[in-house]
Subunit: 321 residues, 2 copies
């Protein structure tokens, strides 16, 4: 079985070329620059791992991996426009440098090129893969819309938040794995467990992300701790705190949300700790992680085939940055 590092490296070498024509350079050069400022390439690696669970990695898995990576980057470019974000991966966003119109159009064309990569795979799998890819792409858009809708709502339930997170984040991780497994010839039954592993892992990952934003080690987290609290972002923590805090704790939390004192982060964190929101979040994360591992165990291939996927899950979840 391949190691995580070798899969990352082999995807990188497959993906590391121009994806777009030279002209018009005003459209395409900003995209090449954005794609080369690589993220962690988690989704493409999941594609390769989904394939390798069932078979030797097929060249088509690299085409799928590229499609998934381009789709993911398309959502980042468009989300950054919607969120008016100035920075991404420590660099100015595409729209901040090249204007919103070019970022919008660049995102569009990146999505089309994702479909170009999908169209390279063996015809026998094309319809099934396209169906899953399209379903997932729609869900990701729905998740982004719900996220924006929730920003305007005063109250969001935990169920609503989990539904949104699942659409916005988890389904693409799950579908990346499943697409790889389709190429690997997995049965429908095994594909289902592969997908559910990815979906539950994604939710656990997001719980951890919200947790680290509040309780992470500032020297390791890589971004400002407490950013979500400062911006009143609805997170697992805030939603549960608003639903369970009582009396003066609840009053103080609501006051803090409605104001912006210099010690806002410290005061909200104190309430979180007093109400044991941190313990609750860790318990919830473990519950989703257990569901994920249950589905991993159910995939009907030998344990050795699952080893690298298990390592990736550990890498994603044990991370403290």
């Amino acid at each position: 079985m391949s190691t995580l590092e070798s899969l990352q490296a082999s995807f990188e070498s497959y993906f590391n070329h121009r994806h777009f024509p030279a002209d018009p350079s005003t459209l395409y050069n900003p995209l090449e620059g954005f794609l080369s400022n690589s993220g962690k390439r988690i989704r493409p690696v999941l594609c390769l791992l989904g394939n390798e669970l069932f078979d030797e990695i097929h060249p088509d898995a690299y085409h799928l991996a590229a499609a998934v990576e381009l789709f993911h980057n398309f959502t980042l470019v468009h989300d950054d426009i919607m969120d008016k974000a100035p920075l991404r991966r420590g660099q100015p966003t595409v729209h901040a440098v090249h204007g919103e119109a070019t970022a919008l159009l660049g995102g569009d064309v990146m999505m089309v090129v994702a479909y170009d990569y999908l169209n390279k795979i063996d015809q026998q799998y094309l319809k099934k893969v396209l169906h899953l890819f399209n379903k997932t792409a729609k869900e990701v858009c729905e998740g982004q819309q719900l996220d924006m809708d929730f920003e305007k709502l005063e109250k969001v339930s935990l169920e609503e938040y989990i539904h949104m997170i699942q659409l916005k984040t988890s389904v693409l991780l799950a579908a990346s794995l499943q697409m790889g497994s389709i190429i690997g010839g997995a049965s429908e039954h095994n594909q289902g467990h592969v997908y559910e592993f990815g979906r539950n892992l994604g939710i656990a990952f997001q719980i951890q992300d919200d947790y680290l934003d509040a309780f992470g080690d500032p020297s390791k987290f890589g971004k400002q701790v407490g950013g979500d609290i400062q911006s009143n972002k609805k997170t697992f923590l805030l939603i549960h705190a608003l639903a369970t805090a009582k009396g003066t704790d609840l009053d103080e939390l609501k006051n803090l949300i409605g104001s912006n004192p210099p010690d806002k982060v410290e005061k909200v964190l104190a309430i979180y700790k007093k109400c044991k929101i941190d313990d609750w979040a860790n318990t919830l994360k473990e519950a989703y992680l257990n569901k994920a591992y249950h589905h991993l165990n159910e995939i009907a291939v030998s344990a050795v085939r699952k080893q690298t996927l298990r390592e990736l899950a550990q890498y994603l979840i044990k991370r403290d940055k």
Copy 2:
């Protein structure tokens, strides 16, 4: 053979249903509203006609027609954001009513649903159709980028303008026809002529569009005559006038572009007429139309099979509104 009216009606009845799920309604309802405010449905009808040139219309041609119509509407929603346009088809644009974020995301999801329709067709044609669709989608994005780039340039050559128009407008008309012809089982040779017919017809159509904006009958044109002149839009007419006017005519034209007198439209029109830009535009339109008809004639099917397509070309080009 079907008449234009019957094809329009049968597409309308195929297309007239919800294309999106109910939730989130904040994302999908604006799109349903936009799609039901129908345009002329020219591209889907071209799909059906491309099919009927070679065979009875296959149900797959309707799936392709829907994909093309959704793609076209996706470009309109995104172009309107980029152009900050307040109105489309006499109605407020999606972003004007629902905000830019929802319009952006709505456009994205409309494009995904276009690929859903493509994925309904017979597997034997899927790769070829996807390839053509993706190539065309990229070209349309490139055309929009060039159009925006040209707005910032002082001088654009006729060749550059035709290249841009071809990408922005013609290739989708050409590809709509060709996709239909693929489903109809057309040979590569015939597909080539079908495409070239659509491409040249599209250029002739744009020349006429530019002409009518300047010289059309205000009572029939349906929008303000002279709008392009008011906004200094680079059109076939302005580009050729700047390239051929001499002496005081050229000086006056440049002055008019650099200023905004109340009689700007009349004065520019007077220069256009003096320099015979109107005659030149009509001659150029005829030249592209002749090229289009040459390719129509070359398609190796009986003349009766081409009749409705010929009628559509006449409808598009003889129109005075």
